[in-house]
């Protein structure tokens, strides 16, 4: 691909990008949030039509007017936004568009068999092929997406942040499959914000910034600092946070969770969080961490136990009571659980605190704009114009806006569920700094993340969760990544 330009109204998403991929290699595409990676691969998949530029396939110039054209040519794509149909079964999703059928009649048994084979190849023979995809966890869905790409017998597979929703062991499975594919001569375009993954499987790296290629044909062992500098134009020393002085105020117990449980999800969860403390919750995908957070927040009704904030018990299953008590939640699924895509950034930011922006029911729009602009500048959200539509922001910036919502509200407890999912290195570092600052301001934080170094580097204390039970609790500096991994996998609590 050479000189690709793609314009959206008001945005020049691609501004002359070049990308060359050779057979049998894993080509990594790096760039900040909003650099244009997803747009580029959508052009490659026939989903977007480029305004300028040329695509060559095996030496010949081609055009890709539709997704079918790309699929026929041999390009299969795993999109970043999950591109599955929640109401259809796993097998139906895998073979959508090239159904196993005879004379138009579907051959479901054959489809199920082949689906099982594909899932087995991905190390997940236990996922039933006739289960509805909407019932699977995000990780399960990611696997289906992957199986679908494999089902196409493609010569080039594009993976847009495939590991964003995966835990460590799943990532290893994926890498094994990628290695198999490249060994067969299939080329892979790989997009991820986790640089260590690129080191592990990447062969060559292309870096794009602001819709332009800024570096190509780098080797996978290019030093992190150099990559980050290329991506962001500035230096970031380390990707993950390093431990800092604790800001815990032991005297102030802010959040207290007692004997909390929900049937079939988790049971007997007890912990307290002090002012200025960051409590990390580690565990595998599916361990029930999101459920715990959502139950504390009142978004789910607890079957047992209580939650209190500053000694006052929250009403069970009532988000309002939690919000009033100063609890905020940045949920796991930004798009479906937190963002109002049709609204401006300011409107998203003030959603939870409309009462303080209204007099007699009328919104004070000037104050709304002023306050959200101030917060956005605090958080270094870019672009910081609060009147922009939030759908035009990159993922990392959207995440900041969600955090800003609770800061504007003045929350004392902030629950963060996978706050850095899909967020680029530069923005991550800023989020880490932000989380620290919040703690320093006396906010009690609970942090759920699938990335161990993140939990260990940020949290003061860590809970390890497995199968809905807390199996271990310890100060973060007494734990190593290996310990925690052992615990979550084997359940051999120390």
């Amino acid at each position: 691909m050479t000189g690709i330009v793609k314009q959206f109204p008001g945005v020049r998403a691609l501004d002359g990008v070049d990308l060359t991929v050779r057979a049998g290699e894993v080509h990594c595409l790096l760039g900040q949030n909003g650099a244009g990676k997803s747009t580029l691969i959508k052009v490659l998949a026939g989903a977007h039509q480029p305004d300028e530029g040329e695509i060559r396939w095996q030496g010949e110039v081609t055009t890709l007017p539709t997704p079918v054209a790309a699929l026929r040519m041999g390009v299969a794509t795993m999109y970043q936004e999950l591109d599955l149909i929640p109401g259809l079964s796993v097998a139906d999703n895998i073979f959508l568009g090239h159904e196993r059928a005879k004379y138009g009649f579907t051959r479901d048994r054959q489809a199920r068999k082949e689906a099982t084979a594909l899932l087995k190849r991905l190390g997940h023979p236990e996922i039933p092929p006739d289960r509805e995809v909407g019932d699977l966890s995000a990780a399960g869905q990611q696997l289906v997406s992957m199986a679908r790409a494999l089902a196409h017998d493609a010569k080039l597979i594009v993976m847009d942040e495939p590991t964003a929703a995966l835990a460590a062991d799943e990532v290893n499975n994926l890498f094994r499959v990628v290695a198999d594919l490249t060994a067969e001569g299939v080329a892979v375009v790989y997009i991820s914000h986790r640089l260590e993954e690129i080191r592990e499987i990447g062969h060559r790296v292309t870096v794009i910034k602001d819709g332009k290629t800024v570096a190509r044909d780098l080797t996978a062992d290019t030093p992190t600092s150099e990559l980050v500098a290329l991506m962001s134009g500035k230096r970031v020393e380390t990707v993950y946070p390093v431990r800092e002085e604790s800001t815990v105020d032991e005297s102030k117990e802010v959040l207290k969770v007692e004997k909390l449980g929900r049937d079939n999800e988790f049971a007997d969860v007890n912990f307290t969080v002090h002012a200025g403390e960051i409590l990390g919750i580690a565990g595998l995908v599916g361990a029930g961490r999101s459920e715990i957070l959502e139950t504390i927040f009142g978004a789910r009704k607890a079957d047992q136990g209580t939650v209190s904030v500053n000694g006052k018990q929250l009403r069970n299953g009532d988000v309002r009571s939690a919000v009033d008590a100063g609890v905020g939640l940045a949920p796991e699924e930004r798009k479906s659980q937190a963002l109002l895509m049709d609204m401006t950034v300011a409107q998203n930011v003030t959603l939870a605190s409309m009462r303080s922006y209204s007099s007699f029911g009328f919104t004070d729009r000037a104050k709304e704009l002023k306050d959200s602009r101030a917060k956005l500048e605090d958080l270094d959200l870019r672009p910081s114009d609060p009147r922009r539509n939030i759908s035009t922001l990159s993922g990392g910036n959207q995440q900041k806006a969600v955090v800003a919502r609770w800061l504007v509200h003045g929350c004392r407890v902030l629950l963060l569920d996978e706050p850095t999912r899909g967020v680029d290195v530069g923005a991550r570092a800023e989020l880490y700094r932000l989380i620290r600052e919040l703690a320093a301001d006396g906010v009690a934080l609970v942090l759920v993340s699938s990335e161990m170094p993140e939990v260990l580097g940020l949290a003061d204390r860590v809970l390890v969760v497995r199968d809905g039970r807390v199996i271990h609790e310890a100060p973060a500096d007494e734990l190593t990544e290996a310990d925690v991994l052992d615990m979550v996998m084997e359940g051999s609590a120390a």
């Binding site: 259809l88 959508l96 568009g97 999101s290 789910r300």
Partner: protein
């Protein structure tokens, strides 16, 4: 909630449970009918109920496809009127049975495809595009018929469609065949699978290499075709074509489909539920008449029954998504 732990078995159970409770409502109505009126549970009354249900049922089958594909078709009622008028003009009738039927089906299909093209290629909101078709088709039907009822002179036509095979009226056979064909098309073919996919997530379906626009146009074509067939059936039942045929069929069909468990936002639905939904509405009307209730009382109770039926039905699925 993003990741509710509801294993497939459980969800399958919940769909079956809904269908079963819907079926329960139908059985309950039949029991009420039998108790309140001696003439309810007789062969000829059941014949009548089924014959009345037949055209609505056929329309509801087409509507099921449209709604599963996350669309809506408000035009079916007046397309029925248009097709019935077109197929019974003196000119058409002069060619006899076969041409009449083909004409009815073709008019329905044509109107449906126009809807589909406006929605899929013209990117019009389905509600508005089919509302426009509703108004225009009604006008055209009145224009063609000169606002008169056109009586069918072709005796073959009447003999064929008013007759019975094996003791079952022709109209009921047609209903049975259409529902069966609709079920197979929806659940056992690539076409049906893609219809679900489009309703569930059109963008993802497009990215999977499916021609979403063409498929959408075809789905509306199917709805139009069933409207055309319903017109043929109504002409047979009433021995006449008229621009007033099919009034309110769109609302009845949509209500039956939705009561039957198909979701208006698309991506999910069952053909069996639609059939039960249609039968429930027909049986309710029949019971009212059997008991000589006045229209006002009929209407009040009908609304209340719908609410109760739906609330009963959702009781099960509610527990599931309870937060």
């Amino acid at each position: 909630m993003p990741e509710t732990p509801a294993p497939r078995a459980n969800r399958g159970f919940s769909i079956d449970f809904r269908l079963a409770s819907l079926f329960g409502v139908l059985v309950l109505l039949v029991i009420i009918g039998t108790i309140t009126s001696d003439n309810f549970f007789t062969g000829s009354n059941l014949d009548t109920v089924l014959r009345l249900a037949a055209p609505s049922g056929v329309v509801a089958v087409g509507m099921t496809f449209v709604i599963i594909a996350a669309g809506i078709d408000l035009s079916v009622g007046s397309v029925i009127g248009l097709a019935s008028v077109w197929m019974t003009t003196l000119a058409t009738q002069s060619y006899g049975l076969v041409v009449m039927v083909i004409c009815g089906l073709a008019v329905g299909l044509g109107a449906g495809l126009i809807n589909g093209i406006l929605v899929a290629y013209g990117r019009m909101v389905a509600f508005i595009a089919t509302l426009a078709m509703y108004i225009s088709a009604k006008g055209l039907a009145e224009f063609l018929s000169n606002k008169q009822t056109q009586v069918v002179r072709d005796q073959d036509f009447l003999a064929f469609f008013q007759g019975s095979f094996l003791g079952v009226p022709a109209l009921v056979w047609i209903l049975a065949i259409v529902v069966a064909a609709g079920w197979v098309l929806l659940n056992r073919t690539t076409f049906g699978r893609r219809t679900f996919a489009i309703g569930g997530n059109p963008e993802a379906t497009r990215l999977a290499g499916i021609n979403v626009k063409r498929h959408t146009a075809m789905v509306y074509g199917i709805a139009g075709l069933t409207a055309g067939l319903a017109a043929v059936m109504l002409v047979a039942r009433t021995t006449a074509g008229s621009s007033t045929h099919g009034q309110f069929y769109e609302l009845d069909a949509i209500a039956a489909v939705v009561i039957g468990g198909t979701v208006l936002t698309g991506g999910r639905g069952t053909m069996v539920g639609t059939l039960i939904g249609v039968l429930i509405f027909t049986v309710i009307s029949n019971i009212f008449t059997q008991n000589n209730l006045s229209t006002d009382i009929q209407n009040i109770s009908k609304g209340v029954i719908i609410v109760i039926a739906v609330l009963l039905q959702f009781r099960s699925s509610r527990a599931r998504s309870n937060t």
